[in-house]
Amino acid sequence: MIKDFAGIPRDEFEFVGETEEKSEVLTRPSISFWKDVWRRLFKNKVAMTGLIIILAIALFSIIIPELSSYSYSQQNLRNINAAPSSEHWFGTDSLGRDLWVRIWVGARVSLAVGIFGSIIPSLIGVVIGGISGYFGGKVDMIIMRLIDIIICIPQMIYIILIMLVIGSGPVPLIIAFAITGWMGSARNVRGLILKIKQEEFVLASRILGAPHGYIIFKHLVPNTLGIVVVSMTLGVPAAIFQEAYLSFIGLGIKPPIPSWGQLANLGTSVFRIFPTQLLIPAIMISLTMLSFNLFGDGLRDALDPKLRS
């Protein structure tokens, strides 16, 4: 595009005033970090779908057992292994128990175990990792070496041993998770804190004489919060899986208290003849794990500063 520069009048060539300060103004309004995170999260349809499914399942698990006329342990030996019908929406199992109710009570159990089984070890890990990272030195070295040694054995083996001793059920399960699951979280948080400690703004704070508490809450917590929440979220499907696995091998949750893992286990023995008894809990497990994975991934992407536009 060739403009007719020769045609520009002479008076255009007058000086304009002093350089205005406006060029110092940032050219795009800066959004606060957390608002940006929310915005990106909401935009992520896949992650939001996951979240909606989770909330729906949680809601159902609370409401439905209250509305049902059957209890989860109520047996009816005259109507065993029934196919889904208008009376029993999901059918009945080999002892005549209503599967619809058992699935949703099982949902309560599996979700509770999954959620607490992820949050509690995470929190323990945050505290231990935080102490290790913040104070450094010998404390740090000892804790890290211990973790190095303990972590060589898969968590599941420790859990199996513990459950053999303390018995099965939701509470023992959560305890077992808490005792054996904090190491990963501790390592992550410790690494993060070590990195942040080096940052200059922390150094500046300390030089200015800020007390430990201030530094922890104003600097360390906000920067680690995101990562901790993500790992807690992604830890839920792992916990749900572990519960299912343990119930499957006979250790996790024993009848009559239902859990999805236990229902899956009971379902596999009659799978060839009555496939719905396995299919339904299996779908619930997979759907829930998938939803938490998708939401957790979305959360992690939303928190990643490199993707900020």
Binding site: I8, D11, E12, F13, F15, V16, S23, T27, S309
Partner: protein, 347 residues
Amino acid sequence: MTEKILEVKDLEFSFDTYAGEVHAIRGVSFHINRSESLAIVGESGCGKSVTVQSIMRLVPTPPGRLKGGKIFYFGKDITNYSDRQMEKLRGKEMSMIFQDPMTSLNPTMRIGRQISEGIKKHEKISPDEARKRSVNLLKEVGISDPERNIMRYPHMYSGGMRQRVMIAIALACNPKILFADEPTTSLDVTTQAQILEVMNHLKQEFEMAIVLITHNLGIVARFAERISVMYAGKIVETGKTDDIFYDPRHPYTWGLLNSVPAVGKKRTEKLPTIKGTPPDLFMPPKGCAFYDRCEYRMKVCKENDPPERMIGEGHYASCWLLDERAPGIKPYVVKRHAGESSGKGLM
């Protein structure tokens, strides 16, 4: 010898991002002659790296995109060369060294192999020949005990050493042009000088043109024969080194020259800077991109992008101040440092 070996005409390059199109290069033209050294100077983000990397097609294309312009190598139009054709040029005719030597070498491959890899691609030679040449190249860049060093891995070396290896790699096939993308920015001052020495020496020995990208005017004075000043995706002034240092015509160039700390200046004087920040390249301004920060701006500058005007032989600038209708201003006074030589660049 003023034979044009590379000519870039009206190059336009953009990045397609989530937030929109970033107009990184908005019409850049320059040329390089055989065996000469050209420096492209500008602040971070002005597009100098993207310019040379896009010539060698090293910018990932998504999200990058060549929007317009032409590139000629020895007169041949290479703008639309296929990947295969570009592979033949890279390493053999033109090569590049990058800013961060710590990450520019493959950590799991021996140094000797990283050098000979390039040679083997372009020439048919025996492994033994390749090895000998790698050893020689290491000698040329000043690495002692080359026989042992070709068997070593990059993590054993310091930044300066790694940059020398990079130079050896770049020179392996005697290219006609070496693009040096901020090669000394991440090195300390002493090492900087050493690396520039190496490059200087090799330029003479191999008769190679060097395009030096930098934001440091200080190293440019002694190294380059010609300088192009870049701002916000465009070249605002080009000329021989003497012209740029002693008769600069663009207000941005003045700003850059002023902000070079001068030896002998009083320490209590504040270091001058150019107020403001470069414009957002999502929506590049219609007129001159330097408008917001320019002390001498005029009404015409806001709406109209100044065309390139010739000032002397080989000396061009894009500024409305050069137009005959513009009011005269005090000529820019070059602030001389104590003890500065008045010769040209050393090549």
